[in-house]
């Protein structure tokens, strides 16, 4: 009886957005009198930080710092339609809608600035710090604060924009299954290293090295939080979780966190995250949806590592000590 070490690999891809499309999201953007920008949506922030990402997307598009953008969302009386936050679609769908709305608002903003500066709007650029300046002559500039005041009180303009994003729905061909499930795919490759105690069947995940390709890391810190969390969830899925431990039998289902097993902080592997960015053709600044796929590759990587360690295949999830011991026993019996 011994502790045995093994490693396994898995490589995957994952579609961004609702399967087969047909899932619209809309956005509205307007400026306040002092040049802050309000983004109105009905998308839901699940705690992953959608509001922050939408603020950064709007800020980049209009050309202001992110703290000048306020997100008002998840109210059906004020926000335009969003299909919902699921299917790795939030950043991609709502982000595109916000870009379109913000571009329209930016155009009005530049037109008002052009009137104030007595130049052509096409000769203007934003400095990203809250000012609009003449290209090649940055000393000739006006603050966005003053542009907004002018638009509201002098020029009678609404610095606002409407945005929407919809990928037309694809219908699978009945006999061949020809269809367009998605417009872009994220990718991942994970290598997991485990120790398996062949006396108890217990698995310890030592390291998980994840490489994720997600189009564009719009906010690297937030990408990291989602990818690390997903990686932990993958380990939990592989080794611990089930609402019906003897599925298809319905008995012994957990009803609280004492009975429903999940890894605690001490059970989590040393986790490494490496991010590659191949911008997608239709993503906001090339972003794809990393939300779901980041919890997938750890499961087969751990399963393959268990085999590498002790030479038995557990093809049923979760890979419990009981299943490993039964397989080792069957293997020993020949």
């Amino acid at each position: 009886m011994a502790i045995r070490r093994g490693r396994g690999v898995a490589a995957i891809n994952y579609p961004t957005g609702m399967n087969l499309g047909g899932d619209p999201t809309q956005a509205l953007v307007h400026s306040t009198p002092t040049g802050n920008f309000m983004v109105t949506l009905s998308s839901v922030d699940l705690g992953q930080g959608m509001k922050q990402i939408m603020a950064q997307i709007c800020a980049e598009t209009i050309g202001v710092p992110t703290d000048r953008v306020i997100i008002d969302t998840a109210d059906t009386d004020t926000g335009p339609h969003c299909m919902g936050t699921f299917a790795s679609r939030g950043t991609h769908r709502a982000g595109n809608a916000v870009i379109q709305a913000a571009k329209e608002a930016r155009q009005v903003m530049l037109e008002v600035a052009a009137e104030e500066l007595e130049v052509n709007a096409s000769d203007l650029e934003t400095d990203g710090q809250g000012n609009i300046q003449v290209k090649g002559a940055p000393q000739k500039s006006i603050s966005i604060f003053d542009v907004a005041l002018s638009a509201h009180f002098k020029r009678g303009r609404s610095i606002s924009g409407r945005g929407m994003f919809l990928i037309p729905r694809s219908y699978p061909e009945k006999e061949t299954g020809a269809m367009k499930p998605s417009t872009c795919y994220a990718h991942a490759c994970t290598v997991a290293e485990v120790e398996v105690d062949d006396e108890t069947g217990e698995v310890t995940v030592l390291t998980v090295k994840n490489v994720f390709e997600i189009g564009r890391a719009l906010n690297p810190k937030m990408v990291e939080q989602q990818l690390v969390g997903g990686s932990w969830m993958g380990i939990s899925h592989a080794l611990y979780e089930t609402t019906e431990p003897y599925y298809p039998n319905r008995d012994h289902g957990g009803t609280d966190f004492n009975q429903y097993l999940m890894p605690g902080p001490g059970d989590l592997a040393q986790t490494e995250i490496i991010v590659l960015e191949r911008p997608s053709a239709d993503g906001p600044f090339g972003a794809k949806g990393p939300g779901e796929m980041c919890a997938n590759p750890q499961i087969p990587a751990v399963a393959n590592a268990v085999f590498d360690a002790v030479g038995v295949r557990i093809d049923t999830l979760p890979i419990t000590p009981e299943r490993i011991l039964r397989a080792l026993k069957a293997q020993a019996a020949g």
């Binding site: 690999v9 490589a11 995957i12 891809n13 579609p15 009905s42 998308s43 839901v44 699940l46 705690g47 930080g49 922050q52 950064q56 800020a59 710092p65 992110t66 998840a74 059906t76 009386d77 926000g79 699921f86 699978p172 009945k174 006999e175 299954g177 269809m179 872009c184 990718h187 290598v191 490489v211 994720f212 390709e213 890391a217 719009l218 690297p220 810190k221 937030m222 979780e241 019906e244 599925y247 298809p248 319905r250 289902g253 609280d256 429903y260 995250i273 490496i274 991010v275 590659l276 960015e277 191949r278 911008p279 939300g291 779901e292 796929m293 399963a303 393959n304 093809d315 049923t316 999830l317």
Partner: protein, 455 residues
Amino acid sequence: MELRKDYFADVRKDGLHEIGQPRPRLDSPGHVTGKTAYFADRNFPGMLHLKMVRSPHHHARIRSIDTSEAEKHPGVVRVLTARDVPHNVYTILILIQIGPEDETVLADGKVRWKGEAVVAVLAETERAAQEAAAKVKVDYEVLPAVFDMEEAVKPGAPLVNEYHGQNYYLYDSGECRKVRFGDVEAGFAQADHILEQSYQSSPIEHAPTETTGCVVAPEGNDRFTCYTNTQAMFFTLDNTSIILQMPGSKLHFVGGTVGGGFGGKVDVIVEPIAILGAKLTGRPVSFVYSREEEMQISSPRAAEKVVIKDGVMRDGRIVARKVTGYTDAGAYSRHSPYGAQKGAAHYPGPYTIPNVWIDTYCVYTNRTPSSAMRGFGVTIGDFALEVQMDKLARLIGMDPLEFRFVNAYRDGDMKAHRQPTEGAALIECMQEASRAANWPVAEKYMAMSSYRKGA
């Protein structure tokens, strides 16, 4: 975390002002100091609490329901049964034309899974609602139940859901969603080795910090404001409008920060009945799942069975792949027909295989209806595919990572569902993993690219 900017630098414009910057989240201080408001922070004077009477049986006919004792219980304001619900039989994906309507808001004549909602009790306190729920008498005639997907699709199995008429979802393509590409039998005939394996998962729980729930307030003008943690505001509003036969203009949904979704909050379960309760009593109503309800009543990830048959050549090329996927929907559709169909689109994985045959089934059994969960339709498929890839590599004596390079899809490759591959990056992920994990592969694989010459 490490951002490897050297990959794909030729197709990416960097140096943006706000995008790519690790700005601190504006909502973080609220979260970590307990200032962020969640739906359950709403508390209205006179608010009622809703508790469900649930089926103790997996499958039973309801002979009668007696709510008289419950109604007399101190603090009880109203007891609701199926006949109080204007459009009691519904299905959420009807909004995107995926029918038939197959589920009851409150059981009518039958229960099809253990835990199904039968009677709703509205009372002044949670405790009164709970105690009164225990006094509802339901006379059941227990029926044979089926739990196993293979048993469920056999002739003579107990029929789980009469609205379908058989224990699987009927797509326009028949009993399963199909993908046919090339000639899979010719591929098997040509293969050096054939490997057929079966994989199985079990249901799992989303385990959000915040359980599913809502608080409804009548606005006094025939409008109702529903504070909810749904993941999809209008999807829930529009389904509620159908179930309650109430114009959407009478409904106002307010969300906010949700304490974790993972797909567990895209069913439409708590809102319609809570709004109905508010309408019939004229009082605010709170309906929040207990942790036990979250774990055993709220939809889990579906259990899936995946059978993969592969034909592989000694040089590592997979020449044929046949996949049969089964999704255990439980007693009702919810999002499972969508999930099973998503699986059909996902197989055979990120590999270029000339001959592919996919069948994915959505099967009904007498268990808690499964539904959306992070990656559903794909996650279990990836477990099966990637364990199968490991087995195939070992079968032909190849390194498992190198074996994936041989088969990896690249730009321009035709997928089984007949879309050309665009924006592939699997090869680069594997190259970087090879370096990061110190898992060397042959130089020819490190020299590969997802770009096609001339593509």
